[in-house]
């Protein structure tokens, strides 16, 4: 178990003006890890993801992606982001492009593939998320679940080393979350390294190799799902996980 970490965060801070959102987060992620980030809203989970792919770089602290320190000055951030896939809560599909176009545009513009290569790979990625038959549909013609699967295919097309998911099912109707979670589970099983901000505790139990509980800009506790759900060391972790788990059991996310 002494592989080199794929992602390493060291004392990451993030402030927006006066607001101190992340107050020193350190985290090591191994290849094939599926880390589910949980915690009350406003504790900086999404901010942490955005720090990692440098959409909003940390104000302090260091991040390594494989052996490269991506927070070092002079790093080509666009190149870094190619290696880190990101899936958003509200999908953010490019509205003027079809499902296929959404996946292809990064391949032709960023990876500089020719049309044919890009088409073939994009169809492959759409197949991975089960949407080949929707390739020529525009985002406005897709359901929420389908949109999110296209967004996943778009990210996968860039051949990322790590995938970040920012509440990927929060904007979906309850009956549509399943198809997205299934795709994510399958990705995890294929060995994709993932960081997922989510309150889907069923998914966390089934798929996560580790749960990280954040509160108030700090990591309070982390551990394998069994330990975190059944024997958390921290009182706050217990309270929080109890609350959202029971909520999910009887309310089914209502």
């Amino acid at each position: 178990m002494t592989t080199d970490p794929i992602l390493r965060l060291e004392n990451v801070h993030k402030s927006f003006g006066e607001t101190h959102v992340l107050k020193g987060v350190s985290l090591t992620i191994q290849p094939r890890d599926v880390v589910v980030l949980v915690g009350p809203s406003g504790t900086g989970k999404s901010t942490l993801l955005r720090c990692i792919n440098l959409l909003s770089p940390p104000t302090q602290g260091k991040i390594w992606l494989e052996e490269q320190e991506i927070t070092a000055p002079g790093v080509n951030q666009d190149k870094v982001r190619q290696r880190i896939g990101m899936v958003f809560q509200d999908f953010n599909l490019f509205t003027h492009l079809t499902a296929l176009g959404n996946v292809m545009v990064g391949l032709t513009r960023v990876r500089k593939m020719n049309k044919k290569e890009a088409y073939d790979l994009a169809m492959l990625e759409l197949d991975r998320v089960g949407l080949v038959d929707r390739a020529d549909h525009y985002p406005a013609q897709l359901s929420g679940g389908q949109k999110q699967r296209v967004a996943i295919a778009r990210a996968l097309g860039m051949d990322p080393h790590v995938m970040l998911f920012d509440e990927p099912t929060s904007a979906l109707d309850p009956e549509l979350t399943g198809e997205v979670l299934e795709v994510m589970q399958q990705l995890g099983q294929e060995g994709m390294t993932m960081m997922v901000v989510s309150h889907e505790m069923g998914f966390a139990r089934r798929v996560a190799s580790r749960i990280v509980f954040m509160e108030g800009g700090y990591i309070v506790e982390e551990g394998p799902p069994d330990q975190m759900f059944d024997a958390p060391r921290n009182e706050r972790t217990r309270e929080f996980l109890n609350k959202i788990s029971s909520f999910e059991d009887n309310g089914q996310g209502e």
Binding site: L55, K79, G85, L93, F94, V110, Y138, A140, A151
Partner: protein, 224 residues
């Protein structure tokens, strides 16, 4: 009636000549307006602070003063500082600069109404800011701005009429000449109004067709 038909026969050839000039003026001015408005709109939103300011001043000046005064400044004013234009050049330049200012503002609005998430998503797959603007933001903004630009095109057909005041023989210019020649101003100006109406009608139909083509399937409500 007989009299009117006779008048019509007399003035229509000149008015058709004027129509060609008007269409030319509108087309060239709009094209110039796009050539100016596109970079100006982009610069206003994405450019460095100083550039945003420069473009802001340009837009304020051309939106904030009457077109006629702009035309007089270019044609009669600039020669005082040694810059002289032909009538046509002055007309093209003034209308183009004026239209460019409006088009820049329309484009700014469209660029800003493309959701923030589009830029974020584009950057997240490794696009540079420039690539994201070119491949993702601008294609959407241009679709959004199309209906407004159509209105601008139609308005431009009529704005061109001011150029008769520097003796450019456009539709309005010919109307003035004919009115003086046949002493029938009301009848002639009404005929000319019908000419403009037909031109605008045709332009409207063409532009609606273009808008329809550019619509994103499933998004009809937003493009309209």
């Amino acid at each position: 009636m007989q009299e009117f038909l006779e008048l019509l026969g007399n003035v229509v050839p000149s008015l058709l000549q004027g129509t060609v000039v008007t269409l030319q003026l509108a087309a060239v001015s709009l094209a110039l307006g796009v050539a100016i408005g596109l970079p100006a709109g982009l610069g206003r939103v994405y450019g460095p602070r100083w550039l945003q300011r420069v473009i802001g001043v340009y837009i304020t000046v051309f939106q904030g003063t009457p077109l006629l005064i702009q035309l007089f400044m270019v044609y009669y004013g600039l020669p005082d500082v040694g810059i002289t234009f032909s009538r046509f050049a002055a007309a093209y330049l003034t209308l183009g600069l004026n239209s460019g200012a409006y088009q820049a503002e329309y484009l700014r609005g469209a660029l800003q109404s493309v959701g923030e998430g589009q830029m974020t998503a584009a950057r997240a797959i490794g696009m540079s800011k420039g690539q994201a603007i070119r491949s993702i933001i601008l294609p959407q903004a241009l679709r959004l701005v199309l209906p407004t630009w159509s209105n601008e095109a139609i308005a431009m057909l009529k704005y061109t009429a001011v150029v008769f005041l520097i003796a450019v023989p456009d539709l309005m210019g010919q109307a003035k000449i004919m009115a003086a020649k046949y002493f029938a101003p009301i009848a002639i100006y009404m005929i000319v109004a019908v000419f403009y109406l037909v031109l605008v009608g045709i332009a409207y139909l063409i532009l609606r067709q273009v808008e329809r083509r550019a619509q994103i399937p499933g998004l009809t409500g937003e493009v309209e």
